[in-house]
């Protein structure tokens, strides 16, 4: 890394904020902006809705394609498209090409677009070579590997590496951290009981670590685990990993109110 000029200098990065962060937890979006700007990137936020995954995974290819086309158009002109989610990042980077596999022209466009898409922690570390962050967090944290980020994008070591550089934070490993939390998008509602049983195993594991904080890289999984932890009356703070990496933890944790 050359001295003086940050690794992302000169890069125009489109933030694909994801519909869940957009709707439920804007502070994660601002954490993403901070991390990207700290790395020297010029961040833009084109008007956007969703990556189309709910339609794609429900067998509705036509709507998934319409949403994908709209997303690709909105982010034209960006050097990279970065999402604070392995699931949505995986949709953009891995599934868009698959979605258009039967349309040669659109397929070329989707492949070129996909090549520019990244999950944010992977973008900072693998693409920009960021090795540490300037942040402080008092607590013992454990980390859950969300499925798409782990298995579609190979994200495992990267968040742990950056978390090591956070002052005051001690990271303890979660047993079966690579096992699904039971979220699965619409699965969590369509098969609520099954999803609830799977997340109950996860919260047992989380509690067994003794950590006071749970971190992960996908808001859907985090809402699922936070919702189960609070239903079980367990006092564990739940946050998106980049809130901690950005040092932006003033907002209450997921599922906790300002009144608390």
């Amino acid at each position: 890394m050359s001295q003086g000029s940050p690794p992302g200098a000169g890069l125009r990065v489109g933030l694909f904020v994801t519909c869940l962060v957009d709707l439920m937890r804007p502070s994660v979006g601002f954490a993403a902006v901070k991390l990207l700007e700290d790395a020297g990137c010029k961040v833009v936020v084109p008007a956007q809705t969703c990556c189309g995954q709910p339609a794609y995974n429900s067998g509705d290819r036509a709507d998934a394609k319409a949403i994908a086309r709209q997303t690709m158009r909105a982010f034209a002109g960006c050097d990279y498209i970065v999402a604070p989610s392995g699931s949505c990042g995986g949709m953009l980077a891995k599934h868009y090409p698959e979605l258009f596999a039967d349309e040669p022209d659109a397929s070329r466009e989707a492949v070129a677009f996909a090549a520019k898409c990244r999950e944010i922690v992977s973008f900072l570390t693998d693409t920009l070579g960021v090795e540490r962050v300037k942040a402080r967090y008092e607590g013992v944290a454990t980390y859950h590997d969300s499925c798409s980020g782990l298995r579609e994008l190979g994200i495992r070591a990267q968040p742990r590496k950056l978390l090591e550089s956070v002052d005051g934070l001690r990271l303890v490993e979660l047993e079966d951290s690579d096992v699904c939390c039971g979220f699965g998008g619409t699965f969590a509602v369509k098969y609520g009981e099954l999803s609830g049983a799977i997340v109950a195993k996860k919260t047992d594991r989380i509690a067994a670590t003794g950590a006071d904080t749970l971190l992960a890289g996908d808001l859907g999984c985090l809402m699922n685990m936070a919702g189960k932890l609070s239903r079980e009356g367990r006092q564990i703070r739940v946050r998106h990993v980049i809130e901690v990496l950005a040092g932006m933890t003033d907002d209450p944790p997921i599922g906790e109110g300002a009144a608390k």
């Binding site: 439920m24 809705t49 429900s58 319409a66 499925c147 298995r151 690579d178 799977i198 906790e256």
Partner: protein, 475 residues
């Protein structure tokens, strides 16, 4: 349907399974396939390369299946055996019953065979007054319990040792009541004692096949108990029942597939027994059956060959997908409601019984992808489950509220300006209602979520609205 089908009521099955304390105890203590597999693969640096090679062998075979089937039949015939083709379960059962009738068979011993489960062979034999005896220990246990297998390689994984002791005491009434059945070893030796007499008096022995070798006409079974060998050697007639995608070109190919099979299944480098049988006993052979038959079952597989589910025909039935599946691990195999459970069952079942009856299974997945990541044949299981969902969507088979909700969501998601306005208003309203506690214990239309966990409340206002307000920029 030959096997009691409860797949359409999958959700009820799940509910029952989750509230079955005995089953949950069994599932929580069952095996340790996951760490064993991981350790076996750790010991074999070329495992990833072997997966590629295994996938390529099967892809090649499936692309030329007609040629290899002909070659295989020729070799079996040359070795003195006979190949029977069965289009469906009914034909397969009829062929088998004809063989029994011609030999006046009264007792049939069976090695472990999922295809015999698929065609419902035991019920057919029972109806014909023929005694069928499962000789694999797990299969023997579930036969006593009048159940089907709940796992493709560990059929009795859903029962505890205490259950087995109770089953044995109920079934083996001729043995002393004060005998010790507290150890796995004592249970095993009791089963062995009983089965040994059956082996010697059986008229026909049935096995499945892990592979059928086109080059030699041999059928291959891999087992850990040796019961398969006794099943196929001792009776006068040996019948192999297998589906047609078991064909593998050469012995060398089989040797490669074996290197990924046991490691993926049980974490063994090799299973204890790998047994090849080629035709009936030849002059000078010390043992073997007088007759050797192969029933090759299609049951819809040939129509899978050309379509988007052809990858599924690479499956070598190791069970790694279910061992690593959060859904299977939560509810066990019987909840899937037919023969094949877990991710492989979620793809295969709709192919074999139709998406109308089997469609619940490919929907009941979080798409966590762990199954695909451990599949030795690199079968894209989540992708194929998604294909089934597409078929359902095309045919309007999903529940109306789901389709309606999805349509409404898509309406907004494809109209960014309207979406931004509506979501900003909605999240502000939700934050006002739930923001104090930061979560909802109940929310309209989200009962599937809030019955089992809280729903975190939104912070209020969307990111996009806040960003625009903050930066004043339109970019």
């Amino acid at each position: 349907m030959s096997v009691a089908l409860t797949t359409p009521r999958f959700k009820d099955n799940v509910h029952e399974a989750l509230h079955d304390a005995r089953l949950q105890r069994a599932m929580n203590t069952a095996g340790n396939f996951v760490p064993r597999r991981a350790a076996a693969i750790e010991r074999l640096p070329e495992f990833e390369a072997l997966r590629d090679s295994a996938r390529d062998i099967k892809n090649h075979t499936l692309a030329h299946l007609d040629l290899y089937l002909e070659a295989y039949e020729q070799r079996v015939t040359q070795a003195g055996g006979k190949v029977h083709y069965a289009r469906d379960s009914e034909e397969a059962r009829a062929i088998f019953l004809d063989l029994c009738k011609a030999r006046g068979a009264k007792r049939v011993t069976k090695g472990k065979s999922m295809i015999s489960e698929e065609i419902g062979l035991n019920h057919a034999l029972e109806a014909a007054g023929i005694e069928a005896i499962e000789t694999d220990l797990g299969e023997y246990i579930i036969q006593l319990r009048n159940e089907g297998p709940s796992h493709i390689i560990a059929p009795a994984i859903h029962v505890t040792r205490d259950d087995i002791e109770a089953d044995f005491r109920k079934a083996h009434l001729h043995l002393p009541r004060d005998r010790d059945l507290s150890q796995p070893e004592t249970l095993l030796s009791e089963a062995r004692e009983i089965l040994r007499q059956k082996f010697l008096s059986a008229d026909i022995g049935v096995t499945g096949a892990n592979f059928l070798i086109a080059e030699t006409g041999a059928s291959v079974i891999v087992t850990n108990e040796g019961n398969g060998d006794l099943t196929q050697i001792l009776p006068k007639v040996h019948v192999v029942i297998a589906s047609l995608e078991k064909i593998t070109p050469t012995l060398d190919d089989v040797a490669q597939l074996l290197r990924v099979l046991a490691r993926s299944a049980t974490g063994q480098d090799m299973s204890v027994y790998t047994t090849l049988s080629t035709g009936p006993r030849r002059a000078g052979d010390p043992d073997g059956p007088e007759e050797y038959h192969v029933i090759l079952l299609d049951n819809g597989r040939s129509s899978m060959l050309a379509g988007e589910f052809s990858d599924m025909l690479r499956c070598i039935r190791c069970g790694a997908c279910m061992n690593h599946c959060p859904v299977y691990q939560a509810v066990g195999g019987h909840a899937y409601g037919w023969v094949y459970p877990g991710p492989m069952g979620a793809v295969l079942t709709p192919s074999l019984i139709g998406v109308k009856d089997g469609g619940q299974l490919p929907n009941a997945s979080t798409f966590c992808g762990r199954c695909e990541s451990v599949c030795p044949m690199k079968i894209p299981l989540p992708k194929m489950m998604r294909h089934w969902r597409e078929r359902e969507f095309e045919r309007h088979l999903e529940p109306t509220p789901v389709r309606y909700g999805l349509g409404l969501w898509a309406f907004f998601a494809t109209r960014p300006a309207l979406y931004r306005f509506a979501t900003n208003v909605a999240t502000r309203a939700m934050a006002l209602i739930g923001g104090g506690r930061g979560r909802f214990a109940w929310a309209p239309l989200a009962g599937g979520w809030t019955r089992y966990r809280d729903l975190p409340a939104p912070q209020g206002g969307t990111f996009q609205a806040r960003w625009r307000a903050k930066s004043g920029a339109v970019n």
